[in-house]
């Protein structure tokens, strides 16, 4: 059995990692740390895990060595103690934003402060298997992914990979997102009285996840607009772009079909009947699938490309476990087969 531990096990990302790893057939969870919940049973913070584990939260300064160490701390922490963490594990997967960007200059631009360990940026592989499967399989250090970045990257991946976008026009991605993206700490905007029933565009442009899309897809003229909606889990990215002259529906089908064929968790949703004709995050809760779809106005080349995910799964913990599977030489779907719920 592969031994794993989680630093920062009391947050939503850490809880989702625990849910997945406790059921994983090739993994034994050794420790989950939390300073604020030290000594408490894991299920007292993550009630869905009652009767699944008797692990108590441990002290992050009292970690045993393991095969794989997951870092699920708030952004900005791992970069300050990466040197101390490395001797604890053969492989490290960091869910935070600390090692997602390859350039220290980009980090400072988007996160507003210098990176504390710039020499480590190039040692991490960006942890989205749909973009870096081969590199992840041979990596010791893998970063997490931004949930909104993942929805955007997967919405645009078929178009970019097939070279169908007219790059003389801007790419605009409108993102609707659920409240669990804010994390377990929250703020006054997370209060039920303020968060319930909202459709709130809280970031018109300049969101930090934009940097991951620019870096990974090589797009420069791209904006991400974030709108909070009345969901707990889920992200829907709706990307608007212009295709090159002559590109038609069949070209798009070919491009989207190719990406879905190459990637076990990517599905094309473009139905002609029924209720679920387009990607929707609702039916993806708890699953690692990314549903992508598109439509094209052939009169002017305006393409609308969509991607729905569960932000805590494909947008965080699910993708991290998918990366672990690849790093360990396992089938990348191991422990991630849950199909979601319907109705929900």
């Amino acid at each position: 059995m592969t031994t794993v531990s989680i630093i920062g096990g009391s947050g939503y990302g850490g809880g989702e990692l625990l849910r997945l790893l406790l059921s994983h057939p090739n993994v034994e969870v050794k420790q989950a740390t939390s300073r604020s919940h030290l000594g408490e049973y894991v299920y007292q913070v993550h009630p869905n895990l009652r009767k699944r584990t008797q692990i108590k939260f441990s002290d992050p300064f009292n970690l045993e060595t393991v095969d794989v160490l997951f870092l699920a701390q708030p952004h900005g922490q791992a970069q300050h103690n990466i040197e101390q963490l490395v001797p604890l594990a053969d492989k490290i997967i960091d869910l935070s934003a600390d090692f997602r960007l390859r350039s220290a200059e980009d980090y400072q631009k988007w996160y507003g402060e210098p990176h504390a360990a710039p020499g480590w940026l190039e040692k991490f592989v960006y942890g989205l298997p749909e973009l870096h499967r081969g590199e992840i399989a041979g990596a010791r250090y893998v970063s997490g992914v931004g949930c909104n970045a993942t929805a955007s990257n997967l919405a645009l991946l078929p178009l970019v990979k097939a070279g169908l976008i007219d790059l003389s026009a801007p790419v605009i991605v409108e993102i609707k997102l659920g409240s669990s993206e804010s994390g377990v700490e929250g703020n006054t905007g997370s209060l039920h009285a303020e968060r319930a029933n909202v459709i709130r565009t809280f970031s018109a442009f300049g969101h930090r996840h934009t940097a991951e899309v620019m870096q990974e897809l090589g797009l420069t003229d791209i904006s991400l607009t974030m709108t909070a909606v009345d969901l707990v889990r889920g992200v829907l990215a709706t990307a608007h772009a212009r295709v090159k002259p002559g590109v038609g529906q069949k070209d798009l089908w070919k491009a989207y079909r190719a990406v879905a064929t190459e990637n076990p968790f990517v599905r094309v949703v473009k139905e002609q009947r029924g209720i679920y004709r387009v990607p929707e995050p609702k039916i993806l809760s708890g699953s690692n699938y990314a549903d992508i779809g598109f439509d094209l106005d052939e009169s002017n080349g305006h393409v609308v490309s969509m991607c729905a995910i569960d932000n805590l799964m494909k947008g965080a913990a699910g993708t991290a476990v998918q990366c672990m599977n690849l790093m360990l030489g396992l089938d990348e779907t191991t422990g991630l087969e849950f199909a979601g719920l319907h109705p929900l």
Binding site: Q249, K250, W253, K254, R257, V268, K270, E271, Q272, R273, I275, R277
Partner: protein, 56 residues
């Protein structure tokens, strides 16, 4: 093998050996209804679909 391509999305479609002319099949990729026009050679075409009031 009775093979054809969907006229809507270009998906590869393999007809069942018992397929008959006039039969309506569904494209496994894009979900459109398709009518088998002929079997030798295989020819399929879009079949009329009932327009549903959907979504709004």
């Amino acid at each position: 093998m009775l093979n054809a391509n969907c006229p809507e999305c270009d998906a590869d479609i393999t007809l069942d050996p018992s397929a008959e002319v006039g039969e309506i099949i569904v494209c496994p990729d894009c979900g459109v209804d398709l009518e088998i026009i002929s079997l030798n050679p295989v020819k399929i075409d879009l079949a009329p679909m009932e327009q549903e009031d959907w979504g709004e």
